[in-house]
């Protein structure tokens, strides 16, 4: 929370616009800081989510042991009641300390709606669509960080359930590219989205974090060979699309670094393609690399840390699963490794000159 003096000091830093005057509503800004739930410390966010999740799991256990899950209609009724209560709690109190309770109510509500529908012999498809629609409707009522983040994950979970229950694994390739594209859009267009002051601007942070988790989870599904029998027939689609995205990122980066020499640019593109070539059979590695680059660009620490962890995991898994002798793996790894060392040596000097300018 900030004090009035802090806010005034901050406003002083911002230079006035070229045309017109710089208008701001100090009272609203002060109020926004007082009730700000969007930028709580990571520890508070993790506590809310885990607390809500554990609480709702215990409650679900209670429902099962007490035998209350037998009646589909009552489960559905209580489920909707719980979701409404979660939204009401937020609307009424709008306090961060209510987050754990409202997250728990929200998750319990969705679990009950899900089980209720299944008890009523409705299909899994129907349940998933109901969940997605209920989430979208609730998002128009509340844009609280925690509820929105959980909402994104519920939508993601519903989509995954649809894909897995229909064994339509090819769809995962389309889905991961869509997720990567959305993350890229959110990262590059942050200013535009924030300036729009529309619904998306309020949902920006939870949406981005939610998409990040969803993207990494799809990559994990794609990374393990034989996992859910994801067919490798269309894997090239994910790979090519993600490599193209990395190339686009490099293009933007080169503009940012003001590297205008055409020869150097072509060499960099070629080297990027060469480095990414072995990952054609593992789009997960390219995807994690994209997460690292995007997160580093916009200084998103959670994304950066997660990106590094998953990047190492996917590389390890790729070589572990590769169907060749250890000797061939060793030669492949050493060649790639030495390629990067050479790249370092080649670019270190060039970068140093650029850096000093």
């Amino acid at each position: 929370m900030k004090l009035r003096e802090d806010i005034q000091a901050m406003i002083q830093i911002i230079p006035p616009p070229d045309e017109g005057s710089w208008i701001f509503d100090e009272e609203s800004i002060l109020y926004a800081y007082q009730k700000d739930d969007d930028h709580q410390s990571l520890s508070v966010k993790i506590l809310s989510v885990f607390g809500g999740l554990m609480g709702s799991l215990a409650f679900l256990g209670f429902l099962f042991i007490a035998g209350l899950y037998n009646s589909g209609a009552s489960l559905l009724f209580f489920g909707i009641l719980f979701i409404a209560a979660a939204i009401w709690l937020h609307k009424k109190y709008n306090k961060i300390i209510m987050d754990t309770l409202s997250v728990a109510f929200f998750i319990i509500g969705f679990l009950q709606v899900g089980f209720g529908c299944l008890q009523l012999d409705l299909t899994v498809d129907f349940v998933c669509f109901v969940c997605i629609i209920v989430v979208l409707v609730s998002l128009t009522f509340v844009q609280n960080y925690m509820l929105s983040f959980v909402s994104v994950l519920i939508i993601h979970g519903s989509i995954l359930t649809l894909v897995l229950s229909h064994e339509a694994y090819e769809f995962l390739h389309l889905y991961d590219v869509a997720l990567a594209g959305s993350l890229m859009y959110l990262s590059f267009q942050e200013a535009k989205i924030i300036a729009s002051k529309k619904l998306l601007s309020k949902l920006y942070n939870p949406l981005k974090t939610g998409l990040l988790f969803s993207f990494l989870s799809v990559l994990t599904l794609l990374s393990k060979r034989g996992f859910f029998a994801v067919s490798s027939e269309y894997i090239w689609f994910s790979s090519i699309a993600l490599i193209a995205m990395i190339c686009y990122f490099i293009h933007r980066l080169l503009i940012f670094l003001e590297l205008r020499n055409n020869k150097s640019r072509i060499v960099i593109y070629l080297l990027t393609l060469l480095a990414l070539l072995p990952t054609v059979w593992s789009p997960a590695i390219t995807g994690a690399l994209l997460v690292i680059l995007l997160s580093f660009m916009v200084h998103h620490r959670t994304g950066f840390a997660l990106g590094i962890v998953f990047f190492i995991y996917f590389i390890a898994l790729y070589y572990y699963d590769l169907d060749i002798t250890l000797l061939t793996k060793s030669i492949l790894l050493c060649t790639t490794g030495l390629f990067f060392v050479a790249l370092y040596l080649y670019t270190a000097q060039k970068m140093k000159t650029n850096e000093e300018v």
Partner: protein
């Protein structure tokens, strides 16, 4: 000015897209120099990481045609060469530390090759013990967080393998307790003497490990028959947790004030599940978790507010 400030300001003012973009670029996003530094370290880490893994795979292949003398000679030469590179003065310290980390992994490779030839077993605890002992000096001199992390991982692995292979009488509660004490001591040592020079992610990773072991040990202890070891672990954990909370208050650090209470909540939940029966128990557990987590968050938020005012 942080991202949060720009987001809030933009919502309640006429800041245009271009000016938001400029503010984000100037105050939040990484600048050119940060990019150059990142790219350099990223490429070198990737290069060293992949090459070292390649070397590990090469020796794991256990080439039958290779004479044992060649094998040991080869692994020693690579180790020697990488160590020389790590002290090559022309490169900056971070890059040399990355190479030293690679060399520390290669020490393990050398012991593995030795184990392969003389059939000492690849996962014997003494293999990890020797690896740990022989890189100690480098870890101390290099003082590089990822190298320290490798060192701690090796110590933890050695203890776990020793418990599995030699000390078969050790109960799970004791093993968890021992690992808790080792990792907690490291955290206490860092927090007391060298906090300013050590990156946060390293301290928090080790602290999370320690808290995880304590939680696991106590939860297992709750469901097992009560033993003296369990009581000792409880006392150790109590002292360490009080110290950690006190330190959190003193240094205004939210990590300890949220991770430690959350661990306590898990322990009490386990005790509740153990000591009560019937379906009402799970309802009670559910209410307890939500209530206690909410209380923790409330206290944390009040503290953060107080600290801001004091700042």
């Amino acid at each position: 000015m942080k991202r949060q400030d720009i987001h809030i300001l933009s919502r309640h003012s006429n800041l245009s897209e271009e000016r938001i973009e400029k503010l984000l670029k100037d105050r939040v996003y990484h600048d050119k120099n940060a990019w150059y530094k990142f790219l350099r370290i990223f490429m070198m880490s990737l290069g060293v990481g992949l090459t070292v893994s390649g070397i590990v795979f090469f020796f794991a292949y256990n080439w039958a045609d290779l004479h044992k003398f060649t094998k040991i000679g080869l692994s020693q030469s690579i180790l020697l060469a990488s160590t020389m590179l790590a002290i090559y003065p022309k490169w900056n310290e971070k890059i040399r530390n990355v190479i030293l980390l690679g060399a520390a992994v290669l020490v393990g490779v050398s012991f593995a090759v030795f184990g392969q030839i003389y059939q000492t077993g690849a996962n014997a605890y003494d293999f990890f013990l020797a690896w740990t002992l022989f890189i100690s000096l480098w870890v101390w001199v290099g003082n590089f967080a990822p190298l320290w992390l490798l060192y701690l991982l090796l110590i933890n692995t050695t203890v776990i393998l020793y418990a599995e292979q030699i000390a078969q009488g050790w109960k799970e509660v004791f093993i968890c307790g021992l690992l808790f004490v080792i990792n907690a001591m490291v955290v206490i040592f860092i927090e007391k003497f060298g906090r300013a020079r050590i990156p946060g992610w390293f301290v928090y990773t080790v602290a999370l490990g320690a808290i995880g072991y304590a939680t696991m040990g106590i939860v297992i202890g709750i469901f097992d028959e009560p033993t003296d070891t369990f009581i000792q672990l409880l006392i150790f954990a109590l002292v360490a947790y009080i110290l950690g909370m006190w330190h959190g208050f003193q240094t205004k650090n939210g990590f300890y004030l949220s991770a430690l209470p959350f661990s306590i909540i898990i322990m009490i939940t386990a005790w509740l599940i153990k000591s009560t029966e019937g379906e009402a128990m799970l309802l009670l557990v559910s209410l307890f978790i939500i209530g206690s987590v909410t209380l923790t968050i409330k206290i944390l938020l009040n503290l953060q507010k107080k600290w801001k005012h004091e700042a």
